[in-house]
């Protein structure tokens, strides 16, 4: 809304002074004609198209079929490094709640997966990785790609190929010990992959720079017998990489954060919603911070990065966060009626739309009031629209006994009608230093 510059900006034609002199040019122009020297400022390319739609075809059929609701997608291309062997992958979930690019093995062409180089450890064995999510875990190989997204590129960048076969087929015990499902199918994540562009520079950070331990999120040494030993991996954002970097942090420029820009949605929803993912904050004419309020979050030194406080109904929810990968708001309020349909267990179905009064408090003293609309989830989720406003769910998915500890998860509906800035830890954007969210 506060944002309208999108697409090619202005191609400035700068006519240099003295061009009529003709001396000293090595131009091959025909004698007698004058070709004025010009400088073309190329159009900005630090963005990629976002789409909120019903998702990849694979989620629409078979058992557990569903329509993707409030899932933001981007299309990107991965190539075998330094080759023209590439695959363009659509419907990759844009996720401010995780970090790193993950692609499901099942969506990769056989030729690509055979050719993508595996990252090797000190023992010359391939490296495996487990990443814990709140609903399960992703396990697979670490492979390197040349990434192209919008007008940006990152060379030789590690990604996780989730559900890879061979020696990666067996999930190590510490990985599954966190519980939940092994996320290997398109239906498990609602997309063909996950583009994690959260507030940290790497997907594990200092915790994974030491070997051993029992963490669910960890890197593994993977000899032919399988992945067992947890190994140390450096957290870097330039080649040679080890841990998966935040792809934005690894870009050569425009690497201090990103902006998710989505228009407002009618109360009844929309079949599709087009927006823009901008790379960089305050680095170009199209990504200024403007009047957005910077909400500083917890840092990696605090343990969990990316958290701030939401005051809701007089309760201070100190583990709150903004997550484009959450396809509704997740919070607990026993005063709001839950949906009664079995398929909608856990969602809120207020008989009339509500406006929830939140105060977002940053660790920098920021104090922002937010009026969060909440609609009856039933007609929105059972209808055909993929972009639906203001739906919420109780993550306990039952009659509430106790709220989830101190947490308000502002999901994708929060992004509608505003620009949400994600500032990466340790990177500066004007006077602001990440990690932060701004809106």
């Amino acid at each position: 809304m506060r944002w309208n510059s999108r697409g090619p900006i202005i191609a400035l034609l700068v006519v240099l002074a003295g061009c009529g002199g003709g001396g000293g040019s090595s131009s091959s122009s025909t004698p007698g004609t004058v070709t004025p020297p010009t400088t073309i400022v190329p159009p900005l390319t630090n963005f990629a198209a976002l789409i909120v739609d019903s998702g990849p075809a694979a989620i629409a059929g078979g058992p557990r079929a569903y329509i993707g609701d409030d899932i933001p997608y981007v299309t990107l291309t991965i190539c075998v490094p330094d080759t023209a062997t590439c695959q363009t992958i659509d419907h990759v979930v844009v996720d401010t709640g995780s970090v790193g690019l993950r692609i499901l093995a099942t969506v990769l062409n056989p030729g690509i997966i055979a050719a993508l180089p595996q990252q090797k450890d000190a023992a010359a064995n391939p490296v495996g990785e487990c990443l814990a999510f709140v609903d399960g875990y992703a396990f697979g190989s670490v492979r390197h790609v040349d990434l192209k997204i919008g007008g940006e590129a990152v060379g030789n960048m590690p990604i996780q190929v989730v559900g890879d076969g061979d020696r990666f087929a067996a999930v190590p015990a510490p990985c599954s010990a966190g519980g939940g499902n092994s996320l290997t199918a398109v239906k498990d994540i609602g997309g063909n992959g996950i583009l994690g562009i959260g507030v940290t520079t790497n997907d594990c950070g200092p915790r994974c720079t030491v070997s051993g331990g029992t963490s669910a999120t960890a890197y593994y040494d993977c000899p032919p017998s399988g992945c067992a030993a947890i190994i140390a991996r450096a957290a870097t954002t330039t080649a040679p990489f080890q841990q998966l970097p935040n792809p934005v942090a690894a870009m050569a420029v425009n690497n201090n954060g990103s902006i998710i820009s989505l228009p407002a949605v009618p109360d009844s929803g929309a079949r599709t919603l087009a927006g823009t993912l901008y790379f960089g904050i305050g680095t170009q004419t199209n990504n200024a911070l403007g009047s957005a309020t910077v909400v500083a979050t917890s840092t990696s030194a605090n343990g969990s990065a990316g958290l701030f406080t939401v005051v809701y109904k007089a309760a201070s929810l100190t583990n709150s966060f903004i997550d484009s990968g959450s396809n509704s708001h997740f919070f607990t309020d026993a005063a709001i009626p839950g949906c009664t349909d079995t398929n909608l267990k856990g969602y809120y179905c207020p008989p009339t739309p509500l406006s929830l009064a939140l105060v977002v408090q940053g660790r920098n003293g920021a104090n922002v009031s937010v009026a969060l609309p909440l609609f009856d989830a039933k007609p929105l989720l059972l209808g055909p629209n993929a972009a639906v406003p203001g739906i919420g769910a109780d993550p306990s998915a039952t009659a509430s006994l106790k709220p989830v500890p101190r947490s308000f998860d502002l999901g994708l509906p929060f992004f509608f009608g505003r620009n949400v800035y994600v500032g990466i830890e340790g990177r500066t954007a004007g006077t602001a230093t990440g990690p932060f969210f701004a809106f």
Binding site: F133, V134, I189, S215, S304, N319, P395, V404
Partner: protein, 150 residues
Amino acid sequence: MRVRATIVAVALGAAAFAPAAAELGGGRRGLEADRTHLTATIASTTVATHQLHTLTLANGDVVREFATADGTVFAVAWDGPAHPDLRQLLGPAFDTLQAEATTARRRPREAMTMTNDTLVVRSAGHPGAFHGYAYLPHLVPPGFAADALE
């Protein structure tokens, strides 16, 4: 749900004959197993309604185990960047939670949770920031304020 509750009760009964097991519903000897398995340090205090054992893990997680006067762990809470080893911490209740998580119809990003008469689990967060708790309602001592779990 009732069927699952019965299974839990049986499992917990079995655990009572093997108190060295580290788990929700297990005894204090399990704490040492948790400490070793999780590479943690333990600080313990006793308050009016329960014993509180705080495990600080090398990976930055903090796990709190709540025990009755006889040392039986009736609740576990976690907070931190790495998802905790719930298989270790929950013991037999982990299988109950898994059964719920893997069979219930779910959309992406719905956290693992469950509620029945013998097991309540709440969890939330995202990669790099997890928090939650689990408790056995039938073992919660009188006067215990559930707010302490948050």
